[in-house]
Symmetry: D4
Subunit: 253 residues, 8 copies
């Protein structure tokens, strides 16, 4: 109902003064407040429900938010969860599942269809926790994920032998620590966007992932953009945004 | 001609031993070399022809590559070009056009249709050169672009008043120097991927764009990924990759 | 008593040689030493009694200083206190109160009037410990504080819906980790000074708060100045200095 | 005119449908856009007209903005102006004045009263350009300024001999490069806020002001907050905000 | 026994061919090896016996070296010792003394005269461990030390009131963390060398002492040189070298 | 079996069409996959079997890989192993040996001949763990190693007295933390390649080895190249590559 | 003449006391001084004559050293030479040759045989100046060099198609700026040492080559060591040291 | 004249009220002001007259200060002077002398005796400008200086052959860029204080001298302290302070 329509219906008496006022009274920011609520609905519809960053959350707060999310959506998804947090949540949500490698603590409905394709590539076995955070996030958001692990550039044939999978994906997530060169090589092999995730894997001059971050930001390959160190969740999120466009496209055909 | 066919034709004597050998002798990498050539064709087809990074190129080399690109594709596009380089190229390609703000030196066919929508947002007027590099790159690659400039977060209403445009886009490019906070605010307003471009605009502790880069990498908003400082071209490229998915999707409907 | 008066009184015998000597003997720096004592008095009068930085203080020292402060002023205020330190002090000052979130260990007189208004804004829930250190410090120093928490820029409407409170304050404290963009947005919304506090909240390229610090220092908004990472106390202190000017002004009207 | 009043007057026919629509049609953000315009007015009233950052602005743009500001406000103020820019502007605004040390290019009305007191302290003679940018900015915004220059901490008596001036001010600006220790010493001498400005003065490990910035951010004195390296303008702005509170207070008495 | 003497005594048969050969056979570097041994003697004579850096040394190794030093010199001095290491050494050298603040684990002869004067100044109470490492090192090497603690620049009068002591010293050690400005102020008060010791005291942007190090290196005062963060031992060593020159001078007069 | 041979044998019917096809069908990357396997064989032949980076590996994974390596090669070599990991592996491979200083967990055949010469020099005793990682790695790969420890540049004669050993080596590994100057001095003494290994030994401004790394990278001596901080393994590997060339050369003579 | 021989000849009167004394009187360091002279001879013999770092050398000094080198050795080699320096030297050595890309200013004898094989690989065309400095340095020192340019990892097939050349070399030099990933990929393809040279090519977060340096230092491939940014000369030098071992080996067979 | 004496003489009428008042009226800081003047005298007496840092000084200012210094002291000494500044000063002080290598612009009385001994060592020829700034500063302040140049650690024998000179000095200044290892080696050869001066000589990872600074700060040799990058003046100053102690000592004997 647009401004003019409200005014006309109000003059005609179809809506009361109070109703008209309530329509317009929304201060700009209160309307934004409303927008936020609507947005929440939209998010649920679009498949991006809120996700819980567990690390550092007090136990009580974590329990409350898990219970609320679970009750509201019928599913719940948290990242960076510890084994202790798993045990706490398991007491109130017995169906909860915990992946100690990825630190994912979730209950996911089994009737969700996963669409499109995201390839999650990782350089070394030590990068797998971050890669799994990305993969499971993307899956929770409804993306189909293919894992291509242990394909670091120091043994380039391992990556090349999986080129077909990587090229089929709507979006590729490249997870690497140490020298972080994986993203550049993948960027040269595919014509879809590559989301690069530096990891804190390494020692010495890796500076907790800063070296890998710089490598990826400086990539001379086209079609690469970078998220924060160890931010598997962030990569899974934006990759899903991209994948959905591809999915709609493929469905439209 | 496939492997089996070659083998059968060879046994039948339709091709000689030498011919068969030459077919299989291709070392894997030589076959990759072939692949590269095919890939070039694919790039032309898919609308990502090569682009010239002009800065620092010797004059002779620049002239050769501009002429070759222009002759081959009927159009040519270069970034980071100086006024001197413009004058040099203008002698051999009189139709060439130069945008001194963006540093773009190009001739673009006028019959290209621009599809989808990318919103290019910039924080301050000093960020416009990078924003224009992004915008013109995306346009050259066939994307429709809406410019939303001078919407820095220190006057947040300027950005908010353009929310509708930003939300319609398939992808948003957020260009900002100094504190680089623009990307986070946009990330909270849209549900499409945001490609953040830090710029070297600023002084003092901006450290030539490093501060803005860190800000953007640390963004707590979802759906943001970052390219190198001042890398408008890179942002225009990946945004076009994303936009094309949205375009196909919209066409498919 | 001024120099000339002392000299005249001394000559008249109204004060002895020893008395005159003791007046003048004060070496310049010893007079400064006296000044320091007077200053302490002035500080008490002006409402800035000493505050204890508890972290790392040996137990005995901490007990002595708490007891001395409590005995002298009737109240005592410490920051960065651990639960163990709370238990130690509680043995000697049973009325002591401990806030485990802010790490504040204090006993505050209940008859203090809080004046003016400082708005303490924080970006995320993880920033609340620093925000509370700032808020409680300002309150201890006599400022009225309004808390505006969880208004990070990635959901800008949350902040905008509280604009009225923020604009009423004599000074705004903006507490944020990760990308630290909150200060710039607030700086554009108010015409009062904004004291920005970067926090060490974040991971990866947040570099323990350095990224947020750089963001805030580079802010393109007017009226922003920055204190050290996690320095809630420092922000509460300078904000109170500013708030008092506003208070006097408002009282003067 | 509030929402309810508009609705009632509209129903009574006192305002037309178009008039009512124009009142409500303002989308939240468009209303913010209006707000921005009003804000501009408020800024003029409150004495914070826009200021021009000259460095890097194209000549044509600079001329347009100077002429517009001059025509609108009867005065105009720009920072980081070069001698060349002065000559360009002098052609169109002959009364313009240029301070080559501070890089200030301005025409200021002579009938403005300067109120309160800001002390601008600088460590070395090489810091004077930044100190003057701060001082002249504060003066342009209506603050009375006392300059206390060449009082670096390596000759502490120079600073101590001016303590009286510094202690009278509502706000102190401390400008220092190299080791940047000035702010801490001043912070210990006054009970008013100190705005610290690191400068890029120095060489070697001063790292273009980063060392001074770190020194100031780490100050163990109370009541200190920091702005960007060389940001005299920013310091003059926030100091004026603080000074005005003191002025009102003093006027109120 | 000099070259010529050896040759002559050899020709006269006073020493055998083998003896002469063994004198000259020393390869240049083996002679250096001898030199090193002689140097050890010289060091003992000159009062710089070896000192043990305890941190990280395996227990067995620590016991062996303590016993050897104690047996050889009748005294022994170690820095960065833990309480556990104290207990281990106390078993074999019951007279050993441990200072838990400075981390010094030593037995020092009581008949040593301490000469000259080194002033060890520290900014805050948290800097005292490093200051004590410097002071005790200098004392062990025979310097008389005056401690001037808690004289940080944010309360400059505390330092100024001790100017006389500081000016009497042959060398001043300035120990400070956080902003590290103490060295510059002292440098302006004395005409003797100042050895600056940054400490890792601080938080946030202090970056474990790097900020203080940069402050001190950039000092604009004359006569200041800097040692590594927390390197009290190094400061005590070089200050003793300087002090000894002053001592000899004073003795010579 | 080479291309031509396969073709000829196929034509002669010695291998079937399917067999020939399977030979050639290998996609380039699958052939690379095969190559990788062949390469593994070659590595075993050439003495560079895989080595296990133990740190952070889950227990089950570690056990599997140790057992597999041990069963396959009859020997096994792991770096960065903890005492706990030793105990776990000792249960399944009782002959395993653990060096707690170097963190090496290995079983090495006793019949291996060690050839050529690598000199492993280290600056301080605290650098020995990294030096031993390098030395034992080189020995495992078949190099003869001479250890030249505790030859830091602050007592240059210690190094000079060992010049002969260093000059005999085919490659020198220089291991140093703190100021890392050892590599430059050695580089000036020998005419063979020097592999420099910065270590994380130090404190304060050593920044966990970054200072030593920078020192070594900036070395003005010829013939020096650098590996990552604490990367003894990497140095042992490349030094062995170099040593083998020298060995063959010496054998060839 | 050895120690014993001198002693015996002296006793027999074959040499005088003065002669014997002069033999032994050489202080260790003076003997080192002699050694240095001998070393110079050895360097000439071994093919590592001195090379001139031209950048920043005053004209007169440059002329003297070029003339002296040319007169002494009959050839001369300088790096980082400008066109102006070329013109200055061409006046005194007309046969001098200048390569403006590599900045090499040399006269090289034409009768030198180049042995072994070093592969110099570079990522982008902008890296060629550094690659050429490495290649020409290695050639001047007598190595045969194969150039493999423009094989950056973002088009990995370009590198793979040249694998045969790279694998034949005794040592590979990998030159790359921007993300610097080339070294890791090459390291995985060859079993010979790889000398990695980061270049300052790039912009933004490349930080003048620091990013590429970090990438290379963190390489997870075996057999890689790194030299300073843009240090083509250093890479050519150490690669030649390694190549010579391979050459001798191949000659020995 | 002490406090008590003044009081007594005043009472006795030996000094007037005004005279007594003027003695005591000095406010602490005004007295400090007086102290400063006296200090200036003392500085002249003690041989540390003010020195001019020419770089960046406006021409008029430079001329005034040179003339004033020259008129007052009969000599004048400036550092970091350009050739242009030399020509400007030469017009007003024709006897002025300019050293273009060190950037020293001075007129020095010829009747000054230079005492004691400072050894100024530099690593490479490119470090000589900084070394000369140190040497000439020390000479201007009355120290005898021995230059030991081009003794970088990559050819350690060059340094060792000059050990005798270095060991005779009261203080050694070690000037080095690139890897900056010179200070550590010298520190191990002498028992006198070593003042280390990192220089900005180098390229790539030298980071304008920061690498050399870190090397020197991390030195594991005893008796080393560091001044700012390229701060030859500062080294010459503190070395003279130390040398004077040695001089007095030697004179006293």
């Amino acid at each position: 109902m647009e401004t003019r329509e409200v005014l006309e219906r109000y003059k005609k008496g179809q809506i009361s003064l109070d109703e008209a006022e309530s329509f317009f009274r929304k201060a700009p920011y209160e309307e934004l407040g409303d927008y936020a609520k609507l947005d929440t609905h939209r998010e649920i519809r679009s498949g991006f429900p809120e996700v819980i960053f567990c690390s550092g959350k007090p136990d009580e707060y974590l329990k409350n938010i898990y219970r609320k999310m679970y009750d509201t959506y019928g599913e719940v998804f948290g990242t960076r969860a510890s084994k202790e947090q798993y045990e706490i949540i398991a007491e109130i949500i017995p169906v909860i599942e915990y992946d100690p490698v990825a630190g994912i603590l979730k209950y996911e409905r089994t009737d969700k269809e996963r669409k499109g394709l995201i390839a999650v590539c990782s350089a070394g076995t030590a990068d797998i926790p971050v890669a799994e955070e990305a993969a499971k996030t993307a899956e929770y958001f409804g993306s189909k994920v293919e894992r291509v692990y242990d394909v670091g550039v120091s043994g380039i044939h391992r990556l090349l032998s999986r080129t077909d999978v990587i090229q089929r994906a709507n979006c590729v997530i490249a997870v690497a620590g140490m020298e972080g060169a994986l993203a550049s090589v993948i960027g040269g092999l595919v014509d879809k966007p590559v989301i690069a995730v530096p990891t804190s894997v390494g020692y010495g001059a890796s500076m907790h992932g800063l070296s890998a971050l710089l490598t990826m930001i400086n990539s001379c390959a086209n079609g690469i953009a970078v998220v924060n160190i160890d931010n598997g969740y962030g990569a899974g999120y934006i990759a899903t945004q991209i994948n959905r466009m591809g999915v709609k496209n493929q469905e439209g055909r």
